[in-house]
Amino acid sequence: MINPKIPDGPLDKKWEWYIAKARLINPANRRKYKAIVVGTGLAGSAISASLAELGFQCEVFTYHESPRRAHSVAAQGGINAAKGYKNDGDSVWRMFYDTLKGGDFRSREANVFRMAECSMALIDQAVAQGVPFAREYGGYLSNRSFGGVQVSRTFYARGQTGQQLLQGAYQALMRQVALKQVQLNTSHEMMDLILENGKAKGIIARNLETGELSIHHADTVILATGGYGKIYYLSTLAMNCNGSAIWRAHRKGAYFAAPSWTQFHPTSLPQLGNHQSKLTLMSESLRNDGRIWVPQKAHDTRAPHEIPEDERDYYLERKYPSYGNLAPRDISSRAAKEQIDAGKGVGPMKNAVYLDFQTSIQRDGKETIQKRYGNLFDMYEKITGVNAYTSPMLISPSAHFSMGGLWVDYELQSSIPGLFVLGEANFADHGANRLGANSLLQACVDGYFIAPHTIMNYLAGEQPKQQVPNDFGQEELKLTEERIGRLMKIQGNKTAEQFHRELGGILTNKCGLAREKSVMKEGLQAIKDLQQEFYKYLKIPGSTKQLNMELEKAARVEDYLELAQLIFHDALQREESCGAHFRVEHQTPGGEAKRDDLNFQFVSAWEYAEGNFKLHKEDLHFEFIQPQERTYA
């Protein structure tokens, strides 16, 4: 049994009391401590800037050419906060409950409550940084609604909320770079974690431009490296998103929690061809005004406008009348898959459903819809060549967000002392399904408001290292060199991209939206076979001492091939359905996820053991609410 170190006390006092009792370091002494931060998305930039502002030294790494390119930039719809500006009955408690229920009661009460609690300060912080959130004519902030809730608590900056929040964090980071509090290493990828007496003390980094490997030492290491949904190949993620940093830490002893819990986003654009490299996301906010439907008749070949109202099935409105088109993501995605599998899919590959704005355009006028979503409609037209004002959008579920990640305790510390994991890279707040607009929030809150306190608390118990021993990291450096050499030497005939595409295909088909034991067993075997092929037939051109994107990709795919196996182990072990993890064997008569609280009310935290994985359980205790069957009907 593992201990998440949740503080005692009433739910709404836990965090307050934690801060009150946390150990501090005198401002004059803080400069003696150094933190390594890997990743410069919202969580990474926020923690780097915040620690630097406190006076700690920071060394920051990103594989991007600039911190501003991190994938937080792509989040569209918004960020939740329980500000209650709308007089619609919102509160910290309601946000806490919505989030816990949205995650199908597979997250910690104390963590979720803290996220809701800190959400308010985050909006204040962003506005102070100059983030231009949408406003009403009176000059006050505007809100909209997102899936899985009945209030409007989502703040947004057109369809570019992630971009605007990231710029705020990036600018705060660059200010610290200018002040020389932060040493920024762009185009550097973390290759390994270095431990000293069991504690995280440094990393091996590879300069992507020169291929040079280097050893970096610090008093704590913070990973804020994002999610690994790209393992499914076709996903909404950026091409370079990867799981390598957290996988390397996992191999060094950090537990990996709920690896198989990946969210499929219901409103991405469908696959159109075989050379497609990614699926573009259309913001969930579109579901505020768009209605989702399929033809009632299977294999209907008529154009959408030729299908009369009474021959359409607005299946979300039918099945979930109180949430309708704003049902949570896992449920909406699964419902879409159900329709597509029943032969009702539409579009050239019959792999999509309609998202239709006609009702809203008739009600509110085209101009209003244009104001709300103009940039999304433009983007849709650019990609598909279709005008969505006159003809419905085609949408389809796509791999999107990793609820799973490195296991962390209440302090966001992994099972390796001194290794903190923030944002999407950790498993903490979203349970088995994340609610829309909670991802930006979690990344920000982890980075700005939680980790600065917990990291200082940790560092206060450590002696800052003055002299780094000569042999520090030499072993890891050698192993990394050997690893790269091994990959380069294979010289087969298949590119890393081809392996990745095959891997993604296996995962999507065998461990995607619906999971079944016998199918998953086939999948696991297929991954093992693919892994063997990888070491026989991989082809990397060029050399190691130059910019070599094929080498970068190959190393990431190598890690993905291992992570994929853990994903199967995890999904096989959990003989229940919860949130995004839908086991065909475990469903209600109505076809919804059926939890088994008696046997599975725990977080699976996996320990790496050379090709085997050992399960540790963190029991989830619900002291303040009672888990219920999750219904949105």
Binding site: S66, Q129, Q160, N240, L281, M549
Partner: protein, 250 residues
Amino acid sequence: MNLTLKIWRQKNNSDKGGFKEYKVSDISKDMSFLEMLDVLNEQLTEKGEDPVHFDHDCREGICGMCSLYINGNPHGPLQTTTCQLHMRSFNDGETITIEPWRAKAFPVMKDLVVDRSAFDRIIQAGGYVSVNTGGVPDANEIPIPKTIADLAMDAAQCIGCGACVAACKNASAMLFTSAKVSQLALLPQGQVERKRRAEKMVAQMDEEGFGACTNTGACEAQCPKGISITNIARMNREYFSAVVSNTELV
């Protein structure tokens, strides 16, 4: 579609570089431009040749990573990012010329990859509000007129791709710099450092070796996010008023 690609190849920063021709066939009109390059790269890799290096990441037009000077236009014929450009914008049998951004301040690192860290240093010079984490007023304490918030957002949409620099005959970074200066000058939160910011960012821009602005408007015409050159006018006003009043500079 069958296409001939004339692509700039350059081993590294010190290499002279030159064009090389490649053929690709069976390209679908629905493919994005970068997916077409993926096809080429897969062919090259299988043959053991070094694939064409180009910058890209999100492939949905927001990270600002992709670039490419395509047939003489940054991001190609449409006003969008290269990742959002699809092959339906080209004709079967066409020859497409692909070059990196050309600017002294953006050195070529390899093939089509350039170093845009100059933009980061411009932001470092003052493209922020100096606010630490915590201790800020409630978000609704200062109402901001919707028109002002919208203007600030228009400017804030810049993705930092550098197309403005590539489009400009002087390789000027005025559009990029002015977008950030404008965003923060428009908002109440940016008032305190307004003058200092304009002056420092302009100085850094010059130091990086970007050229001067001669108001041709090429940057605006090619900006994938439609950033307006009225931002340049605003930055000029900000800059001159800062220089003239010069009260808070040390």
